[in-house]
Amino acid sequence: MSKFKIKAFFAQLLALILAAPMIAWAGGGGGPFDAGTFSAIKVGLVVFAIFSAWLIKDKMGLPLPKLIQAPLLWIICYIGFRVILQPPIPFSLLAMYMGVCTVCIFLYCSLTRPSWEEFSHPIAVMLREDHATAKMSRYATFLIIPGLIAAQTYNQMLPKFGEPIELRTVHPAPPASINVHKKLVTLQTAENPFRIGDDGNYLKVGDEQKYFGGNAWTGDVPKFLQEVQQGGVVFFGTAGCFFCHGDNLDGKGPFSFAFNPIPANFADPGTISQLQETFVFWRVAKGGPDLSREAFPWASAMPPWEKHLTTNEIWKVIIFEYWHTGFFPRTWG
């Protein structure tokens, strides 16, 4: 091992170690850069880290032993999911991801016979050999592992005052039918009465694409856009949905920060685009109070809009929401 190589090795290692707090800082949202630059920096750092690893390992012929690679990889994964991925993911998801990573890192170390030997040999030495180094590390290991378990147990038993974990089924199963304004709406079969094409017939889901991006507020617009327009009036006027769901339907209305959980973000592909129109109708008409049992803890500030809007207004505002976000309701046809 030449001196140059050792120097380079430590240089790269230092770079890696330095990268972590930089990434943390960038991810934390501070600094003089805008969001786009942040992302670029983050991606650049990740690429740099991988490149460094490749340089150290393959190019410079400084393979890290598997036993060191494994925890290093684990730490890199952890930094990736914990710090680089922004906004922060919940702990449950982090645990799930790290579980997958842990298993797969172990598999990586045992993929082939040589790599398994490389990985397990030091452990075997530590456990079996009788010379001083092995003995020392053996004692250390048998002190550290129970110590870690004890620390973990202590940590778990420690009384905590954090908020309880909240499980919300965001989209619980709807009832088969609901009664809105004394009319029975069967959610399986009901159709939006304002989904009308130019010919006055029912507009199939997907066919409304041709109206996307158009201006519904000019004078002479097709029937569908007229309904969109009226739905917009409900959204911004009659009902004032935008106070919570936001001008851009992104759930960031001026009141949104007062609510917990925060209002639904329609612009997210995980909300209305995953749901049937009738499901949305159910949620708008009945609001939080009518959430089913499985939607415990029923945390929703959504009012039952049937008390303030007519059936037609609800259907229209739904048309508007899909039109504005450019999503299509789910259908099973």
Binding site: S92, L93, Y97, T112, R113, S115, P172, A176, N265, Q274
Partner: protein, 644 residues
Amino acid sequence: MLNLSGEKKKKVGAWLLLSMIGMLVLLPFAPAVVMAAEEAAVEEAKEPEKAKDVFYKEEGEFGIVSGPPAGELVYPDDYGSYGDFQSRTIIWISNQQHLYFGSFVLAVPMFVWVMELIGILQYEKNPKVGKKFDDLAHEMMKISLTAYSVTAILGGILIFSFLALYPGFFRYLSGIFKPVMHIYALLFILESGVLYVYYYGWDSMNDGNGDWKWSHLSLGTILNAVGIVLMVMANTWVSFMMSPAGVDAEGRFLGDIWKVMHNPLMVPVVVHRILGNAAFGGGVVAAYASFKFLSAKTLEEKAHYDWMSYIAMFMGILALIPLPFAGYWLMREIYAYRQQMGITLMGGLLAWVFIMQATMIATLFITVNYYLFQAMGRMPGSERYYKYFKVLLAILVVATIAWLTPHTLVMTPAELKAMGGAQHPVVGNYGVMSAKNTAINTMITTTVVSFIIYQRSNFKLTVPWAWKGNIFLAMLILGAEVNILFLGVYGYFIPANVRIGLSVPQVASTLSVLFIGVAVNTKMLKGAESIGEIRWGKMSVRGAYALFMLAVAFTWTMAVMGYLRSSVRLHWHVNEILRDNSPWAFTNPLGYAGNINSLNVLLFWTMLLFVFWLSALAGAGKKKVEAEEAAAAAVGKAVPAGSH
């Protein structure tokens, strides 16, 4: 035993046997005919009352009421219990055990049949290889035979549990299915008969690839046919409970048993089950072989079981690959039947069970790949490919992470706020169907690539167009993956009904890699120069443990999916017809289900391991033939007692 000489005699005997069995097959339908006649007579006698079918709305809107209404069950009159213990859990466990053994004895004859066929076909070319496959088939059959008697015993326990704990429900179900249940019982006798002839006639009917052998294979065909009919029948009961048809809204039978059996979810559930059983059977046999592999003392034995485990695993995977698509079809049918049911499964109450199922599927695919990597340890020349393993593994990890990301996240309110919504702007995208389809297709494609590498790992290509072939293969795999990814991303921008259509080209990409890729690869290997023979028996111990993992994952997946299928009825015995009025009508939380599932799997494997261990004991010290005879005799005594 049979001592016929001369070609003619053999032929006549073979045909005689076949026709006898053919008549046996018809036997169970006799009571059905009688019953139909009786029913017809009853119909004429009185003015029939007509009622509307709950499912078949258009065709034959009205049926003649021919059964009592389901009524309302009353606790405790219509339920039995052992104190406060959940009666349902007892039913659950006995049902699950019966199902495990049932699926196993259904799946093994399928393998045996394929193995035997391969053996016969190979006999001409290479009698030694033919014999190898034939012995393998015979050995598998032996395991199945023991399991068969256990199945029957467990079936008896199940029925007793039903009678003791759910008499009201069982009365209703048996009232509707009585003709089917009788045919079922009779078919079971037929199945036993065929099974014994098939197993005990193995050696005496073995004339390489002659008529006797073919007749024996035909017996296997009949055995499988009867087995599948049995499974379909039992399956109709279950799917009737999920999606009843052929009865009116009060649950009164409307006279047409076929409509009851052919309920909306019957066909997809049957298809899903058959594939699932086959995969499961493969897993169990692979585990058996691994066990024998680990406990084998001689290299010869080790080599045999190494090979056997590989074959069984291979068969299991063949059934596993179409399974997600069959499951997808089933899900679609469920949504078509009741949207509410679909959402309860996928997004509602049971959504977390699907996370568990996703975990199991990811485990299966990662394990299969890992096994293939380990298996390459016995292939000289595979070192060339070691460097690709970690890339494949990395792809699997990424796909797994996308595959496992749930749509609904568990989080504290503070985490919710920090994230800025119930959906994460980055990983939230993995929570939806497009991402899931992409991930699973990627995982399957990766597995196929691993297999292609496995196929060629101990060969040096000699065909002149090798480089062209390699480029073609690379383009095929890359193209398919790009297509899968592109369609997955594209799926976010189109309506759901179109998006569902996208899964077809995605699957087509995967399947084309599977079929075209493997075919081209096989073609390229023609006349390839071997770097060294496969060193059977030299697989790492980790590979064997991976196969155990595979088997457990199969078993556990079956358990969890069974729980799911059963739970989706919520508080109904028969969906929307017969309400569960017992105190256990609630749906158990996932943790409880997980505990029971683990218990079930453990129970099943304990029984199986015990059987394996016994056979290992018997194999030691004695001559092989003697051992087999002893085992066969023991089995022969046990079975008739248990099958009734």
